[in-house]
Amino acid sequence: MAFRTKEVFEKELRLLVWELRDNPYRRFLIAFLLIWAIPFLTILYLIIHGREGAYQISIPSTIMILSLLFVISVGGSVLALKMLNNIVAKLVTYFIRAKRQDELKSRFVATISHELKSPLMTLRTNFSNLSASFAGPITEDQRAIVESCQSVIDRMNQLIVGILDLYKIESGMVSLTLADFDAAQLLRIQWSEISSLFKQKKLQIVPRIPTGNFLVRWDGPKMSIVFNNLLSNALKYTPEEGTISIQLESIDNFLKVEIQNTGEQIPKENLELIFARFEKLHPEMEGYGLGLAISRDIVEAHGGLIWAESYPGKNCFIIYLPKEAGKTNG
């Protein structure tokens, strides 16, 4: 769906190399190198060793040959420069084209956002008017219909936001805003926010977040999305009275966050598939299969890794992140 600028650039570069294969300048360059190299090496050999042998070379001949070589080299250089100029011009054109594609992507996101979200707002406001009886009294049955429509609007909005987030991250339109904070605190906030839902499902939560400061330099709001996605998934896929554990560990310059649940084992062949866009192992479950894809994009943008492991009766989602985003060594 989306191309990063780098990908577009690489594609264009491949195209350029392909074009150059049939470029006449290429033949000139090879010819120039051969013309230059063979007599030059011969003369060099004769100058160094010729004095003692039969192939002694006179000074006027040397001057003549060198002059000839000079003329050839000037001609070759002009051709080489022309070729270089051609390459640079093409690269600039391709770069401008890639930049233009970026602009088009931004405009596409802005248009989609506006054109899809605005009508949803009108629908939501009108349903709120009906539901609050601001357009006249309604019956309980009508109210139930209105509420069902409102929840459809919420789901549509959730999907639009998810797709746009993914698109923005993939297109490189979202940059990380790094700040120093305590990762343990961020994790505590995230699980306390949805802990009431865990209680409703009678799930046991085992937070293994050691006390102390886990100072990191990450994009806090974006990493909140990651933790929220993982905890929401754990909530969805853990059966009633199951257990969810959250573990935080500092390993050198990295932090390892592990979220485990006692859900159904994920088949080995699906452990990577679950990170793909719109992939859902259980289609009947709520959601659109975007959460893990977005999470992986965010973690990778920080220079980290996220993966899943599954064993009988236990699933683990592991995040391995440099404490300072993008800094993977000392």
């Binding site: 707002m121 009108t122 601001f134």
Partner: protein, 129 residues
């Protein structure tokens, strides 16, 4: 429910949306007025007594930020609270709107309860007594 004497100006170019918002505001016992472009909005602000503005950012005739800037530079309107309601999702938009003087910022589609909860809190701040 709120007072009937508070006037809310809705500056929103989408007619259906503006009408739906006006109906909700009326239901909440406010007096809504609607402007569908920046110029009409600014004119209404100068001519009428407005207590709060619901402002869309993607407006014809200068855009929402133009309205916000003009409001904050006018002696008559600089104190009127502005609640931004936009479908735009650019990064840093909320920060920019707040820096320019917006009191609240909502992204469409937001629940009406949240939007009018914030409006009520602005127009009827809890008494300190």
């Amino acid at each position: 429910m709120a007072d009937t004497d508070k006037n809310i100006l809705i500056i929103e170019d989408n007619k259906e949306q503006a009408m739906a918002l006006a109906m909700y505001a009326k239901g909440m016992k406010y007096q809504p007025k609607v402007a569908q472009d920046s110029t009409t909005g600014l004119m209404l602000l100068q001519q009428s007594k407005i207590d709060l503005v619901i402002l869309d950012l993607g407006l014809p005739g200068g855009g929402g930020f133009f309205v916000l800037e003009r409001m904050k530079s006018s002696f008559k309107t600089f104190g009127i609270p502005v609640v931004v309601l936009t479908a735009k999702i650019e990064e840093g938009l909320e920060k920019k709107a707040r820096e320019k003087g917006a009191s609240e910022f909502f992204v469409k589609p937001c629940p009406m309860e949240q939007l009018f909860g914030a409006i009520n809190a602005i127009l009827h701040p809890p008494s300190r007594h």
